[in-house]
């Protein structure tokens, strides 16, 4: 049977190429025991730069706290917000942080549903990112409130006055959606972490052991536990993906439901959701590079996985670009003259710099990902991913500020509004708060999913085995058939 092979060497090469597996996501040297060792090591002794990051984040956060206390005691006036500019950076950054969270769910839920296995080494920290960005966003809801001390009025709780929140307000939808999202993603994160917590429990000592013992709740990896776990995890994933879409759609209704020019846009929900996924994906790339270095995850956060992540980011960036342009187009060709004037004002008025900055950072910069050097070099990629997120932050800024500066009523058309140092301080503090929490999380909990990487290794091995038998069985059968076709 195989006698025909030597006579057609070029044919042989073609066939082989067709069956050569693509670059594996994980190296061949990754074994189950090594996974345990590497990931558990990340909980013990990260590179010293971890402490640099952690303490600078702590410092930033402390400054943010100082600004907030200052604002709390003196009134919102210290932020230089005024009559048309009532929201400023607070709401812009709120949307930015909410958006950041969505990609974590995309990776952990959607890619889980469609069995995209490359997500496995990187979904855990993305899901943690979701949780912490939501916590950060929730801070801004509180920070921007005039009477922070009465925040519980927004919560629907039974009380003797029979007063309820206003369920028609997009802010109440926001609060409900964020509450649901935070609860669900926290449970999702926790549930997915239970097998790994059991691993930590089996290997830790002292206080940590007590913590992991408590959190892993006695998981033993029995077949019944696994069977239930798989069903539950998939069910949760099926809930989380539509939830994530609904959350940012609801955040977009903060604007789309109002009647201000530039906000009253039907395409806002998908535009916001895609913007959220976009900024989240570039955030995941940033953290990918940081964690890979700080916790020595080189064996798990590999180039093939990064490459897939970049492809996804690029695709999402293009869809976002399309939706952004479609928003301008519908306004431009629409009959709402005020909205059209607002659009022109955004592009040419006082905030043109921010507008074109956004266009450059978020629409033009993604194309640099097409250059092989840029996307394979970690330094350039880190810079690019940060620039993309700067672009997305500017996008949120230029949704809010120009609309307030030039809305329906001409008497309040104001120019040159600039946020005070208090606002900038709180925004900076939020970045510190997020980084601090995230770094603490990675130090205390396994930020690479051990059991799922093990599954991945198992599958890769099975595949290799199957492939080995497949080539033995199929190759001889394949060639005569082709020969027969030619004869």
């Amino acid at each position: 049977m195989s006698h025909s092979v030597p006579s057609r060497p070029q044919m042989d090469v073609q066939v082989e190429r067709k069956f050569v597996p693509k670059q594996k996501d994980l190296g061949a040297d990754v074994t189950w025991a090594k996974i345990n060792k590497d990931v558990l090591k990340s909980l013990e002794k990260p590179r010293p730069v971890f402490w640099v990051i952690f303490f600078s984040a702590l410092a930033l956060f402390s400054f943010g706290v100082y600004c907030e206390v200052y604002q709390y005691q003196n009134g919102m006036g210290v932020s230089d917000l005024n009559n048309p500019q009532v929201w400023g950076l607070y709401i812009a950054t709120f949307i930015f942080w909410i958006g950041m969270g969505h990609s974590g769910t995309l990776l952990s839920a959607l890619l889980h549903i469609i069995h995209a296995d490359w997500r496995k080494p990187i979904y855990r920290y993305s899901e943690a990112m979701t949780t912490f960005t939501l916590l950060t966003a929730a801070l801004f809801v509180l920070v921007h409130m005039g009477r922070l001390w009465q925040f519980y009025y927004v919560v629907a709780y039974p009380n003797e006055r029979w007063t309820w929140p206003n369920f028609t307000s997009p802010l109440v939808w926001d609060a409900t959606a964020i509450g649901t999202y935070l609860t669900s993603s926290l449970l999702f994160l926790y549930m997915g972490m239970i097998p790994d917590l059991a691993i930590c429990r089996d290997n830790a000592r002292g206080a940590r052991r007590a913590l992991y013992r408590f959190l892993s709740m006695g998981w033993q990896g029995t077949d019944r536990q696994w069977a239930n776990f798989k069903v539950a995890y998939m069910t949760m994933a099926c809930f989380l993906m539509p939830l994530a879409v609904s959350v940012h759609s609801i955040v977009s209704t903060d604007f789309a439901v109002s009647q201000n020019p530039g906000w009253h846009v039907t395409s806002f929900p998908p535009y916001f959701v895609l913007g959220a996924l976009y900024s989240g994906c570039s955030g995941i790339i940033t953290l990918f590079i940081v964690l890979r270095y700080v916790f020595r995850f080189e064996a798990y956060m590999t180039q093939p996985i990064l490459n897939k992540l970049i492809k996804m980011t690029f695709a999402i960036a293009m869809v976002w670009t399309y939706l952004d342009l479609i928003e301008y187009a519908t306004t431009w060709y629409g009959s709402d003259e005020v909205a059209k004037a607002d659009l022109v004002y955004r592009a040419t008025g006082d905030y043109a710099l921010q507008f074109w900055g956004m266009i450059f950072c978020a629409m033009v910069m993604p194309f640099t990902l097409l250059i092989r050097f840029v996307r394979t070099n970690y330094t350039t990629l880190l810079i690019i991913s940060l620039i993309l997120n700067v672009g997305m932050w500017l996008e949120r800024f230029q949704i809010i500020t120009p609309t307030f500066a030039k809305s329906h009523y001409p008497w309040l058309w104001t120019a040159g509004w600039f946020p005070s140092w208090v606002q900038w301080g709180i925004v900076a503090g939020s970045f510190g708060w997020f980084t601090m929490l995230f770094m603490l999380y990675c130090k205390i909990f396994p930020s690479v999913s051990m059991y799922e990487v093990k599954e991945m290794v198992h599958e890769q091995n099975m595949e290799e085995k199957a492939h080995a038998t497949q080539t033995e069985v199929h190759e001889p059968g394949l060639l005569p058939e082709m020969e027969g076709g030619q004869a």
Binding site: N74, G75, M76, G77, D80, L81, N82, N83, P84, Q85, V86, W87, H144, M145, G146, R147, L148, Q150, F151, Y153, V154, T163, W164, P165, N166, T168, S169, P170, L171, V172, A175, D254, V257, S258, Q259, N260, F404, S407, H408, Y409, P410, W411, L412, T414, W417
Partner: protein
């Protein structure tokens, strides 16, 4: 209990407002007419409002930052295009007193997360200071931008001793972090309506006026009970052919000046403005 309430009154819970004849049976519906032709931009209404409603004077610096608290403000415009006086431009100023329009379908109301602002049965857009948490969404959604936020704890500085003695005891002094706006001098209306109720009648036309209407030297501001068809304000609305429940007004002839601001946003304001007449040759 609430469920049966829900089922019994389902129809009224599902009604959209305003509708034709909404105030037919109501005793009161407060409304206003402002004649821009009479307005001379003297700011007496603003001063009266400051005195009546305990508005803090914020000072030059904070005013410059856009944090002023004038519930009624005199806006000054310089006519555009052909209306612009070319020879003496400084004579071309046009004034427009702007106050809360007490919209029947107010954009500020449905967006408040805690329900601090809602519509009263006598057609006012109310603001409950105690309930307000200061999310400022109402201000963001107000097309007229007539809602004012307490950016600072103004009582600290606005009325140094003994000035606090001139505060109106009938009106709350607002603390920092709450939204406030023109109430159509709610405290006067309330007192008047209560008094009339005790006497078993409804308020007569002109018996209660807002501070701005009272102070206006040229009587540019007319205030009254729109539900009373014989009141001056109701007659003016009728003569100006402005319908409360319509978002665009058809005029039977040229020269009828009544209009409502930004009507096309479906806000149904309770304030009618009478267009200014100009003699460009003069």
């Amino acid at each position: 209990m609430s469920l049966s309430n829900l089922i019994q009154n389902w129809n009224s819970f599902r009604t959209r407002r305003p509708y034709e004849g909404q105030y037919e049976d109501a005793p009161y519906k407060w409304a206003m007419v402002i004649d821009l032709d009479s307005c001379i931009g003297c700011n007496a209404c603003t001063v009266a409002c400051y005195a009546e409603n305990n508005l803090p004077v914020v000072g030059k610096e904070r005013f410059g930052k856009g944090q002023a608290m004038h519930w009624i403000r005199i806006e000054r415009y310089w006519g555009a295009d052909e209306a612009k006086a070319t020879e003496f431009p400084e004579r071309g100023a046009e004034y427009l007193p702007m106050l809360c329009q007490q919209c029947e379908a107010a954009p500020c109301e449905p967006v408040c997360p805690v329900g601090a602002t809602h519509h009263s049965p006598d057609g006012l857009n109310t603001q409950v200071y105690n309930r307000c948490v200061g999310s400022r969404y109402c201000s963001a959604n107000c097309p007229y931008k007539v809602r004012y936020f307490n950016w600072w704890n103004y009582p600290d500085r606005a009325w140094p001793n003994p000035l606090e003695l001139q505060l109106n005891p009938d009106v709350t002094v607002r603390s920092k972090g709450v939204m406030e706006k023109c109430t159509f001098c709610m405290q006067r209306l309330r007192a008047g309506m209560d008094k009339a109720k005790t006497e078993g009648r409804i308020l007569a036309d002109g018996e209660v006026l807002t501070a701005c209407a009272q102070a206006c030297p040229t009587s540019a501001i007319t205030f009254g009970n729109w539900a009373d068809k014989k009141s001056k304000v109701a007659r003016m609305w009728k003569n100006q052919q402005v319908d409360l429940a319509k978002n665009s007004q058809e005029k039977s002839e040229e020269g009828i000046r009544g209009y409502r601001i930004l009507e096309d946003l479906n806000t149904y304001p309770s304030v009618v403005y009478l267009e200014r007449l100009r003699n460009l040759e003069a």
